[in-house]
Symmetry: C2
Subunit: 393 residues, 2 copies
Amino acid sequence: MTPTTQLAASGVKPPPPPSAVVGMVGGGQLARMTAQAAISLGIELRILSAEANDPAVTAGAKHVLGSPHDLNALQHFAAGCDVVTYDHEHVPFQHQQVLHQTGSRLAPPPEAALFGQDKLHARRVMTASEFPVPPFGYARSAADIDRFVADHGWPLIAKTPRGGYDGRGVWTLRDMAPAQQLFATHSEGVLLEPQLDIRTEIAVLVGRSAAGETSSYPAVETVQRDGMCREILAPAPVPGDVAAQARQLALSLATRIGAVGVIAVEMFHTNGGLLVNEVALRPHNSGHYTIEGASTSRFEAHLRAVLGWPLGETTLTAPAVATVNVIGARSAVDPAGQLPAALVVPGAHIHLYRKEPRPGRKLGHVTALGDTLPETLQRARRAAALLGGSSHE
Amino acid sequence: MTPTTQLAASGVKPPPPPSAVVGMVGGGQLARMTAQAAISLGIELRILSAEANDPAVTAGAKHVLGSPHDLNALQHFAAGCDVVTYDHEHVPFQHQQVLHQTGSRLAPPPEAALFGQDKLHARRVMTASEFPVPPFGYARSAADIDRFVADHGWPLIAKTPRGGYDGRGVWTLRDMAPAQQLFATHSEGVLLEPQLDIRTEIAVLVGRSAAGETSSYPAVETVQRDGMCREILAPAPVPGDVAAQARQLALSLATRIGAVGVIAVEMFHTNGGLLVNEVALRPHNSGHYTIEGASTSRFEAHLRAVLGWPLGETTLTAPAVATVNVIGARSAVDPAGQLPAALVVPGAHIHLYRKEPRPGRKLGHVTALGDTLPETLQRARRAAALLGGSSHE
């Protein structure tokens, strides 16, 4: 007899009515914001969390402590959930396959998730399916690099196929010496790209439900610095036909890879047109703006998608929406202490993740809505700066 | 040594950075939505909850089980909080006074909270301060009623000064017989009012922070049936000067009574002008629309107010905002099971409270945004009906 039944038997009110149970592996800020969205629909979100103080846990999500690399922990966790989804890409593909084969409902399914885990795999599949991607190569030796340089010249961008994020696992190579050093630590090889002349980096969120319904959000500009997404501008300041093509590409790709959930497709707008860079098969930083800036938050839409429910409208709620990430500055100020100052900024929607402040760490974000992007961005930046985030200049 | 410090000492990550701690007495849907708002700002909301399965608890808010009538429980609870506020009006005034005198920060302070607890007290203070209120009397005997009828005639509205809500504690009396029966069970007396010719019932949310800043939200129409708020229409379909006067009245009243938090001032728009009916000194049903429909949710604004932080903007996010409550129908369908059907309605923002479905119980609400009130209301009604709420006809 569980404690809950004991309570019921002793005359205390019965447990709440049953609700859908969505499991999420990982308890970071993406899980935190998903937990917040789950409250509206009365969905129970359960987290497999690596730490007891992860952002989703301090937000009050039910959680089990466990490693995403521990198959046993994953199996126990999945057994109590209607469907399991992810806050990150660290669950080994082999573990996902076992879960899938033993009857757990995974969203995205393993084959689709692999697309977000392995950049090289993704590029190869996209090439085979004739999606436009940047020129790329795969190098395990200096000879491989020589061949690529013969076609594209220096400098090169090298990326680890797996595990990179926020600028980690990406290097700009100007000659062979550092390239050779790279193989000392990355014997599995690296993905190579020429340094592209990028006009605008674009991201498109696409919803694809377990029932097969699809939807796309407007194309947004993602402003990166040191490989980390700093700012999101919605709608992306690109010609209408480019934005429309970006949405169409993203929709086709989501269907092609069998994604389930809301995914983010990152693209480069170049002189040669749109090129698909990579795909995130989890709530991605480029979608934070939707909490206030779109008619359905992509966190809610992701829950709806993985449960096979209708996805909801995707229109912007204002002519201009800007999100600025609050990144830990060198002084590592805790933004929580700066809230009263930052909340003075008109219409600044502040989100803090309750993470220990460290330089270069994403501690929160600010979204503003307005009539024009420059004015709206300026307000969001002001609030982020008042929160003690590192400068955006 | 607490378990937390043990964890830190053993090399596991330290606890999250400190945050503001707001205590809320009561764990109903108002506390649930406050908990959801607290996540954005990284505020820790703690609940003194009567039941382990109250809506705020199932939403993941930290909680202590305890009765709002138990002074000891209240004192222990308040000791851990920066400020204590309420989800309901059931904490005895005497207990509030003790907490206040022993140094707990209460928002609203006891004298202001009494205004929301005792309708007769509120009417008397408002009359003394020359706020326009409906004609009223106080009856403890048939003779008192006779005197009131001599001035105002039958029928009468009788209200218990304390404890009434959602139509409970309100009676329409057409002659003396039922009036006399009332005294048998309500020897403390009743508040009397003539049956007014009301054009529109209006509510205005007013924020007043612990630092003294004030703000007001647009006037909204509250549509009642059987004494229960069914629908909220924003902005209220009344002339602009009436709406402006309503906001001004509400602001003056909040300052007059020393409110702290976001309060709701309910008014009647009659042929004789605006009359203040009553004041709710807690998150009130008439403000649910602000979650999506105003630039600052009043749940967030309430937290900001009680902490003495800036209150935020109060403008509507769309030309028309409509909220329809999901009230348990006679068949007591659980709306959670109807979600996939209801989520088809475009732009319907659904909120479920995870309460056991019972006839006449508020189980959730739906908010829609649009360009005109009739179309917007129609969408919100459609989603509420699909969720199995009782008919709004």
